[in-house]
Symmetry: C6
Subunit: 77 residues, 6 copies
């Protein structure tokens, strides 16, 4: 289990400097942008961020997202 | 209580490399895919992931799901 | 306060191998089944689990429920 | 600040063996019963518990309530 | 960053023995009363507490509010 | 990963004494004001704070916002 303990965090860390898609819990919204930095709580610092909801897209630029409200993180294809 | 303290995490760890079904709290959605890795917070790294909602199925591929928003994890039969 | 600090967890631990009823927060659903194992976060490993909602009953079998989404745990009479 | 750090927990501890009212977040429900034990996370073990909702009262007996889903705890007058 | 790490908690601690207004997340309700004690998790012990919702005011007296369900804390003017 | 572990918190710390916009999870509301102090949990002490909802703006002045209910933090342009 030693390797299993770090792997999801490591997976996110491997996405630093790449474009990611972040789904937010209970919000029907997601953030897309470049992952600038992350920490062990999955707090994310994103750049060139766009918030996408049912109402459309909104440019947010530089933003810090708190980890506990994140549902999922995936590379943006 | 010593063995009880680790068992739910160990149960999830035993599902690594298997297909699992993950129900999300408050979302009416679930994720199905191969469990690639997990950690002590039940953060999950899943592969070949499909998100299933009332609106249908969506291919997500590689995704990290934050543990605190997970309601339940079960082997996929 | 020394004894008070451990008692709710110990109460749940005393239910291992018994049938329990687990109410989920905000979900209008509960899980019933045999408590196989628990840990200090109230993560539960349940067996022969049935999910009960307003829509009926669903057999889940073996399932791990994350502790933070649990509202209450009680012995099943 | 030393005394302030422990006091809310101590206040709840002083209610052990008394009847309390516990309001649940987002649920429109509360639990009333005797506080048998508590811990530092405000996990509560209650006895002779009654769940009170807009739909009426339900006898729960012995129940463990997870602390993070509790909104407030007060002595029952 | 050393001073920044403690300041929000210290700000709340400076409100002990004063009247405060506490907004609850997702509830459309707030609590007003005297802050008797607080801890590092922002658990609050309040006295002479009034719960204010769209339905009116309710006297709660002595109450402990769990920190994680608090949205904001402010001095009551 | 050493630098990644601290960066989102450091990014927020760099905003102390600047005007920020704080979006709250599930609330359809945001807070704008001067960031006076923050801590490692992203608890924020804000000054000259305005709460902005669909119903309009409300002056809050001095307020402490608990970190776990924050969705995102961004510099206010």
């Amino acid at each position: 289990m030693v390797s299993g303990i770090v792997l999801p965090i490591k997976k996110v860390n491997s996405l630093v400097d790449q474009n990611i898609s972040v789904e937010i819990k209970d919000e029907g919204c997601k953030f897309e942008g470049r992952l600038a930095a992350m920490d062990e709580y999955l707090n994310l610092h994103m750049e060139n961020t766009v918030e996408i909801t049912a109402n459309g897209r909104r440019e947010l630029g530089d933003v810090v997202i708190r980890g506990n409200n994140i549902l999922s993180i995936a590379p943006l294809n």
